[in-house]
């Protein structure tokens, strides 16, 4: 099993308050879960990987290449797609414009490829085709999530980072989402921050527990994950 992302001794401080303490994480080709209570530092961890925050020390390696101090847009162009916790969509743009923007950012000038991938996104998420000309502010939570995942999958995604993707979604949608993840997990390595234990047990090959900025537990194989050892910490 090769390593997609390797995080070594990563520390991060916000002003004088230290948030992450020498984190060591290894993300494989399937799905890796990150769990922990609120305020443990999960979102900060993802943001630091995505390049939105600068770590105070440590290294982040993507398939061997050092991405530690790169700006967020270069990291995105390398194939790390980050879907934040607040399900950020832009209220002044239509769903279709979101797709255009994401495709343009990841695929540059190749117009044919861009059109193809947008079409493919709308086929995979038929719900999106229906609302493509609606302003994002008018979309439901589930539709926004579909839009975010679609945007994240343009180009060759080498790592998909999802921050509490099922939060606030209706149970039916959560189930659908779980199915989407299982479907994609074979193609795309994932980092999943979640509170939903059944989902994690189903999908992840590895789970780390983060508490107050430190890794306190690791379930390192699919069996360990299925046993749900990590759940004790929630």
């Amino acid at each position: 099993m090769s390593e997609v992302l390797k995080i070594s001794n990563l520390s991060f401080s916000y002003g004088e308050a230290q948030v992450l303490f020498s984190i060591n994480i290894s993300v494989g080709e399937l799905a890796t879960g990150i769990v922990g209570r609120n305020g443990a530092g999960k979102t900060t961890l993802l943001k630091t990987i995505a390049g939105l925050e600068k770590p105070s020390s440590g290294k982040i390696l993507l398939e061997g290449g050092d991405i530690t101090n790169m700006p967020p847009w270069d990291i995105a162009k390398l194939g790390i797609s980050y879907v934040p916790q607040d399900k950020g969509v832009f209220s002044s743009l239509t769903a279709y414009e979101h797709l255009l923007m994401a495709a343009n950012a990841k695929l540059g000038k190749d117009q044919t490829r861009k059109d193809e991938e947008i079409q493919r996104a709308m086929e995979y998420f038929p719900g999106l085709r229906k609302v493509k000309d609606s302003r994002a502010s008018n979309l439901s939570g589930g539709e926004r999530q579909m839009l975010n995942i679609a945007m994240a999958l343009f180009g060759s995604t080498r790592l998909l980072m999802l921050d509490e993707p099922t939060e606030g979604l209706a149970p039916a949608l959560t189930r659908t989402f779980g199915e989407v993840l299982k479907d994609k997990e074979r193609e795309i390595p994932m980092m999943l921050v979640e509170q939903n234990v059944p989902l994690l047990r189903d999908v992840c090959e590895r789970v780390y527990v983060l508490e107050e900025g430190r890794i306190v537990h690791e379930d390192a194989s699919k069996d360990e994950v299925r046993n749900g050892g990590f759940a004790r910490f929630l």
């Binding site: 967020p72 847009w73 980050y82 343009n104």
Partner: protein, 287 residues
């Protein structure tokens, strides 16, 4: 008071109003996108007017001088952005207020040193320096030219914002810059492009307005407050709002000029104050 004069002032108000709108676009977008108050915007306006004055002394061709003025200011704004303004993004807004105010101050000092304290003036190009008469109503052709130019620029900006990828990025970035960055877009570059473009529009406004008023060192700080008034009255995030606000302010200034010329500009602040009290979001504000 005769109707002719009133109509003329109305035309004047609309023309300068549209120009104020055009000048304010850069200021407004920079505020909404880069989240800084760029008081240096006034400096670019003033430099636009002074550059066109000097260029006219050398070339005596209005169009060419205007081009030089706008290009010159564009270049200067590039350096200002790279060296100074860049350090202001993402920081406390007070930092940008104080620093850009200081840029404005340095600019007006340079202007005083290079061009002196006495006001300068230029005349409009000969073919525009005429009066047009329709029936008993006479007005300068330059007002039409001014209005037409500003309106045209306005339409171009509207198209850019609403129909191009850059516009989409600006709209999205004004809402959530980090999210746009994680999609793979270099917002630093977008900020720079926006700053330069906005500054060039300010210079263009300065150059277009130059034949109508006296060019003097304090014009930079005066225009930037008008830009702020336009933003308050029109609201953030709406191009159309900016245009309406500019026209309203332009008309208030031109009507008050009939009664008391020195206080005319100050009227804009009264309009701004009224809006802050009664409608803080502005006419069509979204932010």
């Amino acid at each position: 008071m005769e109707l002719g004069y009133l109509l003329q002032q109305t035309m004047f108000g609309i023309s300068i109003g549209l120009t104020f709108s055009m000048i304010s676009i850069g200021f407004s977008i920079t505020f909404g996108l880069s989240r800084i108050i760029n008081l240096a915007h006034g400096a670019f306006y003033a430099l636009g007017a002074y550059f066109i004055f000097s260029a006219m002394m050398v070339f005596n061709n209005y169009a060419f001088s205007l081009l030089i003025a706008v290009a010159g200011v564009g270049l200067i704004s590039f350096f200002v952005e790279r060296v100074i303004v860049r350090g202001l993004y993402g920081k406390d807004i007070d930092l940008s207020l104080i620093t850009t105010f200081s840029i404005l101050l340095v600019a007006s000092t340079l202007i005083r040193v290079v061009w002196g304290l006495d006001p300068k003036s230029i005349s409009p190009p000969a073919f525009l320096n005429v009066q047009i008469s329709t029936g008993s109503f006479v007005f300068p052709a330059y007002y039409i030219f001014l209005a037409a130019c500003s309106a045209a620029i306005f339409i171009i900006v509207w198209i850019i914002i609403n129909k191009t990828m850059l516009g989409r990025i600006i709209k999205a970035g004004s809402e959530d810059k980090e999210r746009v960055e994680t999609l793979g877009i270099n917002m630093g570059r977008v900020f720079t492009i926006n700053y330069i473009f906005g500054s060039m529009l300010a210079a263009l406004g300065g150059g277009l307005m130059a034949p109508l008023m006296s060019i003097e060192p304090s014009m930079g700080s005066r225009i930037v407050l008008l830009c702020f008034a336009v933003v308050v009255v029109g609201g953030m995030g709406s191009i159309f709002g900016t245009m309406l606000a500019g026209i309203i302010i332009g008309l208030s200034i031109s009507y008050v000029t009939i009664l008391s010329p020195p206080m005319a500009e100050a009227t804009a602040f009264l309009v701004m104050a009224i809006f802050l009290l009664l409608r803080p979001k502005g006419l069509l504000g979204t932010g």
